[in-house]
Amino acid sequence: MSQFTINIIFVGLSFALYFGIAIWARAGSTSEFYVAGGGVHPVVNGMATAADWMSAASFISMAGLLAAGGYGASTYLMGWTGGYVLLAMLLAPYLRKFGKFTVPDFIGDRFYSKTAAMIAVVCLIIASTTYVIGQMTGAGVAFSRFLEVENTTGLIIAAVVVFFYAVLGGMKGITYTQVAQYVVLMIAYTIPAVFISLELTGNPIPGLGLFSNHIESGVPILTKLDQVVTDLGFTAYTADVPNKLNMVLFTLSLMIGTAGLPHVIIRFFTVPKVADARWTAGWTLVFISLLYFTAPAVGAMARLNLIDTIYPQGVEEPAIDYDQRPDWMRTWEDTGLIKYTDLNNDGRIQMYNDSGLGAAETALASAQTEGGDVAAATTAVETARVAHDLEVDGRFADAGWAGNELDVNADILVLANPEIAQLPPWVIGLIAAGGLAAALSTAAGLLLAISSAISHDLIKRNLNPNISDKGELLVARITMSVAIVVATWLGINPPGFAAQVVALAFGIAGASLFPALMMGIFSKRVNNIGAIAGMLTGLISILVYIFVFKGWFFISGTANFPDTADYWLFGISPLSFGAIGALLNFIVAFIVSYATKAPPLHIQELVESVRSPRGAGGAIDH
């Protein structure tokens, strides 16, 4: 059986499973559509939330980020899990007690203001839409690589599948489908990792293998990795980072961003009781951690395997001939995610830290052919060459290396892992199904958050409060269908800034929504004007800080400063600014609130009731 047939079978079977669940779990009321009727068991909900949360970024990209960043990329591991502690203690139980359907619901009621609810709706839609684009592009990569169909065809297939179970089943259908998707993606992620860990360390548990001895060399695997990467001129894998302030703020921004993302928060409205909301957060993190304990091992071992493939006789010996490269490199070259340029014309693949020499040469070549500052580009090449020739006691210069010749996109590590480790074809089919499960489960959760914000918060709350339950359900289904069409279109024509907008999603959720929700619960004094001022401060400060470095509205060429550490305020990158935006939000909200009138009595009573679990009942309508 060909690899293609096997991939089709695995993906087809997983899709058939999702279809079956969709038919079984149709939603009949708005309550079932928005919050699955509020009757989902915490363990089941934890598993569904884990699938909802673990997106294409966790499944496909994170191990690659770890492989490239080493210790510095620990930020993603801590940042994307630590937020659940904040959710469990600061938000989830109280929002569950509040007992409505959406995040803007709470902000609008607690701050007795339609304006506040509208700001929340805008934040929610920007954050969720930018996030959906990432999922659709992730699904597109998986389709075009494994199913050998056009990207567009693949995305339309994915959209039809999501349409079927999300529009029919709403939260109920999504929740039970996500449970199945969790199982698929976890198996797909773990099996190759177990094989690779066994091969390199003899330990079948990858998370433990990471701290075990490397069989071939007899030294711990991280020590071995540190040796080979420093021999190739890179920073040691476990090396400390110089800018600790930025690392702390980046981690904090990811944590509060995680806690503030609406598609995660609404998951906690689906459990029967307040106590269950707390347990759900714990179970969610247990299910997430199964992947997150494995990811650092996958990253480190993939990096070691890749170097081993390029330098089969060790990094001191010549690299492999381009003509002898393994098959997986050939297939991935077709997708453009691996690129080889023979800079020194020796027919071999040199992959090492060239101090930017290769990139500078390319820039010079393009300046010469397409016009540009040739003098500046020449100086850059000369500076890079001096650094290059001094590196590792002049070893690279002596060996006649002329720059890094192999560019490997970090996103392919997980997808190519089974091929790199020469695992059987069915494992590759499994990875294809797993990558799609990760992308689709998150996309469905996001689409639900978007459609409920529009149908419930915008139409029901503002435009037509008298709409019937049936009418609202119909509107919710129509808005979700429109959202799927828009998301698919954006996936087919991804805006050039797709990678950068993820910072925007976390920044907005962390700087604007998280502080507003927290103050709504933990302070009785913060009032409507204070909350609105705070949310706008958070939103505007994060937008300005990102736009100043990444271009206004991400239009290239409009950035005011280069996006490098030398220009960042106190060395804080735009990715890390969410924490600062949140701080500004808190300060402004408190100052403005104390300068204006305290909230009316019934609002203070609302806060009082949200804090006490008694009398929660199911999630109810207005």
Binding site: A88, F211, V219, T223, S289, S612
Partner: protein, 86 residues
């Protein structure tokens, strides 16, 4: 026991519990994993130091324990103050 049916007592106990938990949360991630890593450099574990382990695995384990501990303590507090859900 402390005052039953005293909402402010219940809330104060909750806030105390949250503060304690968040101190551990911050100590294990921002502390051991990032800022205090140089101090832990002497403690070797599997080819690297304890700070690296906290940053890549240890902190996540602590997060899980913290959430379950909090959920368990809060369930007891709910009953103690008579605000649990029947």
């Amino acid at each position: 026991m402390e005052n039953h049916n005293d909402p402010s007592g219940y809330w104060r106990a909750n806030v105390r519990l949250i503060l304690g938990s968040l101190i551990i949360w911050a100590l294990c991630s921002y502390g051991f994993g990032i800022l205090l890593r140089p101090l832990l450099a002497g403690i070797r574990i599997g080819g690297t130091d304890l700070g690296f382990w906290f940053a890549q695995q240890g902190s996540i384990g602590v997060f899980i324990i913290l959430i379950f501990f909090y959920a368990w303590r809060m369930n007891k507090l709910d009953k103690q103050y008579g605000v649990d859900e029947e």
